[in-house]
């Protein structure tokens, strides 16, 4: 749950065009909060044993996909990896289909074949997420290549973490994207950890963005917990890609609050420095926006309560849908091995 611990250092700069647009900010707040509440509901209900699959929650990292998706349409395509709930939801992925998928039900977005680590919603351009780190990166580039060959006006977005930056396939993909100036947005969510291992144990002391720049990509860096800053960077980068200026590399610093996989806070394992988690919780992207819009009187407490209420109802309906959905029959597992 969110604590009211926003520090004074996280105010928004007044040069951001969104900072005083009440309805826009309230909408962004609603999108952020919705992802947070959905993830919290999953965490709470995970112990019920109805969602029997690995679960990589993105609490603390919601701002990045929200800030980016604001500038995408349903025609733009998104790919992701194991920690993809936020990416899927921010792109407009159907909540009922997602929760039913977590339940392994026939109505799930993959008919129960995927679970948490394989989400899809083609109607809104969420093409797919898979859990092999780096596995979907070239797919997104191929998606952009295909759009370019067919002269389709579209950008392709690929989300990945700092760990993926160590995968060779990412560099192969950036090389090709750069060679053909493809409209693809590489989004590196740098949360500093690969499972329990810190970045400094895995990469030398040089900049991730510097390598991307050397591949010929346009590089943008930002605070991954500042949704308005992210939105501003995404606006620029996505426009550049749309205008034929080639692949864009966005790196955002952020932090995962819970354990790598599962519903628990695992700070007791002490693989992260003391107080590091607390420091980042103080930079909560949702509280930060909430404080701003409340202090600037852009939203009322009543409106916030209403948003909370609506989200709660939607989540409750989604879980009820999943719970009541039919189970796939064992015979169904033999379907779709080959396409006709």
């Amino acid at each position: 749950m969110i604590k009211n611990v926003v520090s004074m250092t996280t105010q928004y700069p007044c040069n951001n065009s969104l900072v005083s647009d009440g309805s826009a900010l309230t909408d962004i707040f609603r999108r952020l909060l919705r992802i947070r509440r959905i993830e919290e509901a999953i965490a709470v209900r995970y112990l019920e044993w109805n969602m029997r699959c690995p679960m990589h929650l993105s609490i603390g990292q919601e701002a990045i996909p929200v800030g980016i998706s604001m500038h995408l349409t349903d025609k733009d395509h998104v790919f992701s990896s194991h920690r993809s709930h936020g990416h899927y939801l921010a792109k407009g992925g159907d909540l009922k289909g997602m929760v039913a998928e977590l339940y392994g039900k026939e109505t799930g977005c993959c008919g129960g074949r995927g679970g948490s680590m394989h989400l899809v919603d083609l109607k809104v351009g969420f093409i797919g997420s898979t859990p092999i780190v780096g596995g979907t990166v070239p797919l997104a580039v191929g998606n952009a290549w295909s759009a370019s060959l067919k002269n389709i006006d579209r950008v392709s977005v690929i989300y990945f973490g700092d760990g993926c930056f160590e995968e060779g396939v990412l560099h192969e993909s950036m090389n090709f994207a750069s060679l053909y100036k493809l409209p693809v947005i590489f989004v590196c969510e740098n949360n500093g950890y690969s499972v329990y291992t810190q970045l400094k144990e895995r990469q030398p002391n040089r900049k991730i963005s510097g390598i991307a720049k050397s591949h010929g990509l346009s590089v943008h860096k930002g605070d991954g917990n500042d949704v308005l800053g992210i939105a501003s960077i995404a606006d620029k980068a996505i426009n550049s890609a749309r205008n034929g200026e080639g692949p864009q590399f966005l790196e955002f610093q952020t932090y995962r609050w819970l354990e790598h996989c599962g519903q628990n806070d695992d700070d007791d394992l002490e693989y992260r420095p003391r107080r590091e988690l607390l420091t980042w919780k103080n930079k909560c992207p949702i509280e930060r926006l909430k404080t701003h819009i409340v202090e600037q009187c852009l939203v009322t407490e009543q409106q916030i309560d209403l948003i909370e209420h609506d989200i709660k109802t939607e989540i409750s309906n989604a879980f009820e849908f999943a719970s009541n959905s039919p189970e796939p029959s064992p015979a169904q597992m033999r379907n779709h091995i080959y396409a006709s």
């Binding site: 395509h77 977005c109 993959c110 008919g111 074949r113 995927g114 394989h118 899809v120 083609l122 093409i127 797919g128 898979t130 092999i132 596995g135 979907t136 990166v137 070239p138 797919l139 997104a140 580039v141 191929g142 998606n143 290549w145 295909s146 759009a147 060959l149 067919k150 060779g168 396939v169 560099h171 192969e172 993909s173 090389n175 090709f176 060679l179 379907n335 779709h336 091995i337 080959y338 396409a339 006709s340």
Partner: protein
């Protein structure tokens, strides 16, 4: 135009047949692209892609960075989006760099997303051999690919099939691994000029016989046919089944033959352990244990890599001579084997496919 022209059958080589198949599908399907290391270069993948860039342009015929895994993923990503892709690796060994993309994505994308998307990609991989190709340029890795549900894995042996199966593979909506042997490229066959697709999931009896069923794939079909011809002179009448596809394995066609001959020999230019030959024998035993008059025989490669030096490598492969020797032993033939070997002797070096071959690869 004379009407008969479209029905013309000519003798053309396996590599020209592949090229013609690709060309014809590129004509009928404007969303097919061809990509691979060396595709538009002067050697044009053993002439199988010759002139395609000149004909179809740089937006359909691509060379590619030396990034087999990433590029395979990029091709899969394009295929998911409806851009049909033919990807080419000059050596099957190079495709090992791309196994993550082939197995985790291409083979499973349709399945794991509940049939919502398809992956229309053909990956051509070439098995090299001879002229010192050595341990990493010549492996028979068909079993590795055939192990994976979601892939179709084919091994055409004749030029006619090379074209027809290429056309069918390029029209298919699934990932197809098209395995071809470098030593087949020069072999000519009657190939119709018209556009035709051949089955990519069926074996085919390529020589009728009554005494034993020989199941072989790719280059081993050609070697088995040579043996069948020679052994007919000592009254061993071999029925040769061209396997054509290793996933799926067409067990029905094999069993129809075994019902008749009651004996099975499988020739597979690969390692025995965990291989296609063992799989076929297992399926034959599953389906017709009581039919078999003798224990099945597998003719495969020694369980070690091939060395580069021809002084050793010449004794590694199981060609017509070795196949004939084992078939005669299978039948307990007591006559003069040397005269048979003489008939099979090409009188030429064993590390080149033809007298016209001058290297370098």
């Amino acid at each position: 135009m004379h009407r008969n022209i479209t029905r013309k059958i000519r003798k053309i080589s396996y590599s020209k047949a592949i090229r013609e198949g690709i060309d014809q599908v590129m004509q009928e399907s404007s969303n097919l692209v061809v990509i691979g290391e060396g595709v538009p270069d002067p050697k044009s993948i053993f002439l199988t892609t010759e002139g395609l860039r000149e004909k179809y342009g740089k937006k359909r015929v691509f060379d590619m960075p030396l990034a087999e895994n990433g590029m395979t993923g990029i091709c899969i990503g394009a295929a998911i989006d409806g851009t049909r892709v033919l990807m080419i690796h000059q050596r099957i060994d190079f495709a090992l760099l791309a196994m993550d993309q082939i197995i985790n994505n291409a083979a499973k994308w349709h399945y794991m997303f509940d049939g919502q998307m398809t992956v229309p990609i053909v990956i051509r991989v070439i098995i090299g051999r001879g002229w010192g190709q050595g341990p990493q340029h010549s492996q028979g890795l068909q079993a590795l690919f055939a192990h994976i549900p979601g892939l179709k894995v084919i091994m055409p042996a004749t030029a006619k099939d090379a074209k027809g199966m290429m056309i069918t593979a390029l029209r298919d909506n699934n990932p197809v691994i098209f395995i071809e042997h470098r030593w087949l490229h020069h072999i000519e066959d009657d190939v119709p000029e018209e556009v035709y697709g051949s089955d990519i999931d069926k074996a085919q009896v390529i020589r009728r016989g009554s005494d034993v069923t020989i199941v072989a794939s790719s280059l081993m079909v050609m070697e088995s046919l040579k043996v069948a011809k020679v052994l007919s002179e000592i009254d061993i009448d071999m029925e040769v089944v061209d396997l054509r596809s290793v996933r799926p394995i067409d067990i029905n066609t094999i069993m129809q033959s075994v019902v008749k001959t009651k004996k099975i020999i499988v020739v597979d230019a690969a390692w025995k352990a965990g291989g296609i030959a063992g799989e076929i024998v297992a399926q034959v035993v599953d389906n017709g244990f009581d039919l078999l008059e003798r224990a099945p025989l597998r003719i495969s490669l020694p369980e070690h890599p091939v060395p580069t030096s021809h002084y050793m490598a010449d004794y590694y492969y199981q060609d017509a001579k070795e196949i004939a020797e084992q078939v005669m032993e299978f039948f307990g033939y007591q006559g003069n084997k040397e005269s048979i070997f003489d008939l099979l002797n090409t009188g030429y070096h064993r590390d080149v496919p033809t007298k016209n071959f001058h290297g370098p690869f």
